[in-house]
Symmetry: C2
Subunit: 437 residues, 2 copies
């Protein structure tokens, strides 16, 4: 189907990019917490940012930078402190971060974009950051993507990375990406960041349009807990180092690039959903027959975000009633007489009527999909807290190819869409209720 192949290398797979990640002392744990992605030449830059009224300083900073100038050379990202809810001081800290990195790289601070993730209301530890930047720049490498991916995560169990390669005008074009988090999933954490690079040559307006559409079909189609973060951002750089003729309008080449960009974003989005706090499986909801794509996505996202559907999936309960109820409250008009619901290969409801099905087999399907979504795991520790015994499992490798699949049709419309999420387990509550005065 897709005329591209997966390659290693993440954001440094496309030509002309370097990256690095180090432990600069921002996280109390001492884990890596400072990353940079660097383009050897000025790259076209596009961004999609949180729609929250409460935003981190870096979000406002990037928006302002990208308004006037559609290009960039570097993205600096820190973990540990979100720099959200920090008022005027947060803005000054953001500005200083860009200045210091600009001086160290020998480029204008106007060519630098910023991202932060961590505790809301905390200033970035600026002493550690400014001391860390020279060390970070010294580590820049054409194979530095994994180090960068490692340095941007917080409570994630795995790093998220992908790179794809295709041919445009007979020249190799690559798109790579890294991401972290999963909605706003951790105590005070804020939380979804994704960075995409390509060596394609593309005009700024077209690149921004492609990125907005790709975001709608990937990151905007996932939910873990319904809590939109103050720091969400997706930044994509295009540096033209594939040496292809510039793509300036829609057509075969543009469609190819956009499809590949969308695939990269969808991989990262699904990886985030599967890594949702406490999750044991990835859930994919496909909605068809809706008036339009937007309505279909609204229904899909409502189903995959329903606490009751999520709890039932954790309980391996093929509970079509909750799926129907969630579809019904999505705010999209449809006739319930047209409702059709499938779970995996099991047809649960047709023409609005419940069907007999093998409940035990359907439950086993849920169990198997969850088991299949973990390629390898190792038990880290058995913790006891608040009368709760939870085995905290570190997932080493994700398998995103066999999600729990829910297919819903609501009528004869041409609109269809997909959304991804995860189940709701005791661990979600545990992780988010942990607090010590």
């Amino acid at each position: 189907m897709a005329d591209w192949k997966e390659i290693p290398g993440g954001v440094t797979a496309p030509r002309g990019y370097q990256a690095a990640g180090i432990a600069a002392g921002l996280k109390p744990s001492g884990s890596p917490d400072l990353a940079v992605i660097f383009s050897e030449v000025e790259a076209i830059a596009a961004g999609v940012f949180t729609t929250s009224q409460v935003r981190a300083a870096c979000i406002d900073y990037c928006r302002q930078r990208l308004q006037g100038k559609h290009s960039a050379r570097a993205i600096l990202c820190n973990a540990g402190q979100a720099n959200a809810g920090t008022g005027e001081q947060g803005w000054l800290d953001a500005k200083l971060s860009a200045q210091v990195l600009g001086e160290t790289l020998g480029i204008s601070p106007n060519l630098i974009l910023l991202a932060s993730t961590g505790v809301i209301g905390q200033r970035i530890r600026m002493n550690a950051l400014t001391a860390g930047i020279p060390k970070l720049v010294a580590e820049l490498s054409p194979t530095g993507s994994d180090a960068a991916a490692q340095a941007i995560i917080t409570t994630d169990l795995v790093t998220k990375s992908i790179a794809l390669e295709t041919k445009i005008h007979d020249k190799i074009v690559r798109v790579g990406g890294i991401a972290k988090g999963s909605g706003m999933i951790h105590p005070d954490m804020a939380t979804m960041l994704a960075f995409v690079t390509t060596d394609a040559a593309v005009s700024p307006q077209l690149w921004q349009q492609m990125l907005s559409r790709a975001a709608d079909r990937s990151f905007n189609a996932i939910t873990v807990d319904g809590d939109t973060s103050t720091n969400d951002c997706l930044i994509a750089l295009a540096n033209g180092q594939s040496r292809t003729p510039a793509i300036t309008q829609m057509g075969a080449e543009a469609e190819k690039l956009e499809a590949m960009l969308t695939a990269v974003c969808q991989h990262l989005a699904k990886a985030i959903a599967r890594d949702g706090e406490g999750a044991t499986c990835l859930i994919e909801v496909r909605v068809s027959g809706a008036p339009d794509e937007l309505s279909a996505r609204k229904i899909a996202k409502t189903i995959v975000g329903s606490s009751l559907v999520k709890s039932a999936t954790f309980g391996r309960d093929p509970n079509w009633g909750r799926i129907a109820a969630a579809a019904g409250r999505a705010g999209v008009p449809f006739e319930q007489e047209n409702l059709r619901i499938e779970l995996g290969d099991f047809l649960l409801m047709e023409n609005g009527n419940p069907l007999d099905f093998d409940r035990k087999a359907a439950s086993l399907y849920l169990e198997k999909a969850a088991a299949d979504s973990v390629v390898s795991e190792n038990l880290l520790a058995t913790e006891i807290s608040n009368d709760l015994v939870v085995d905290r499992i570190k997932i080493k490798t994700q398998n995103l190819d066999n999600p729990v699949t829910i297919a819903v049709s609501v009528g004869n419309g041409s609109g269809s869409s997909v959304a991804w999420g995860c189940d709701l387990s005791y661990d979600y509550v545990k992780i988010n209720a942990e607090y010590t005065t």
Copy 2:
């Protein structure tokens, strides 16, 4: 402030009403599951129903009945089976239920309204229902409100009931109500029902307007898990037996009646929120400074519905960052520089800047509010399931007067509103993930 007093008697406190509740064999547990509320004379009837596209047969039935005729004599309510997602057969079952009750009471079936709650996708056990109706009617009593309140609950820990009394035109006027559930909170359960009676004399149009506004300020302002039910309904009867002159337009008397109606609805709504599955406390969010009441309610409901705010409250964590983030994503524009957040008496944020506060004392405030919300409790059992140890506590009596209070101001607008909810505990997941094939 309020010029009314609380009295006992629930829906049978107003004059001219009788009620009954029996165990008809609809619930497998053998608990009471069939209730009727009966008005001795034809009463003005108003209703507010679920907005879900997937609706129980009784919802469509009531809507259709109330469209042509704004009066009723009786409300029949069964628990055990929701009669939602049951297709054409569900509609026939609903019709037959009304017919049988009409014949037994000797009134037209057109004067009967219906409500169901229980498992979605299950037909009502019609043999048990039709056999139970004569027994139910024989039990009708002017003190039958508690029996009815008992027969409509499913997984509720307490019954919800209230009655208020005031004077209008120097005559005594009463409003009473009973309710069950809390959003769509239980496996396959569907779920919020409320019935209100008054002996006030009021015109049908005005009564419906008052009820719609009261619903917006009570039931529409609570959330437990964000899952709107297929069976939600609020039905209010007004039978004029107070012998006051009919209230036909807004004015001092109408305002008095609407205020009392709103107070009854708010009491029942708060009781439902406090009884949310797994909840350990009631949360009240007051939002002010918004452009209008609707915007304020939107922000309040987003905050009180946030999984992260709810988890933090369960963890007794005075986590203002999550409150700010939830306010920000509510879809209402405001300047974050104007944000002010209070938790109880603790000022946490002002002018968008975090303030120093005594975190330990604020955490103790949360702990105390939770403890205060239970007047008496007794431990039923310690269950072990899915590696989880949970003490299931049966709350005997609720105290709704000292909720966890979150006050948020977003600007200088005149819009303010209140929303209620509860915390998110391990028990919520446990209750909703329980499943045996």
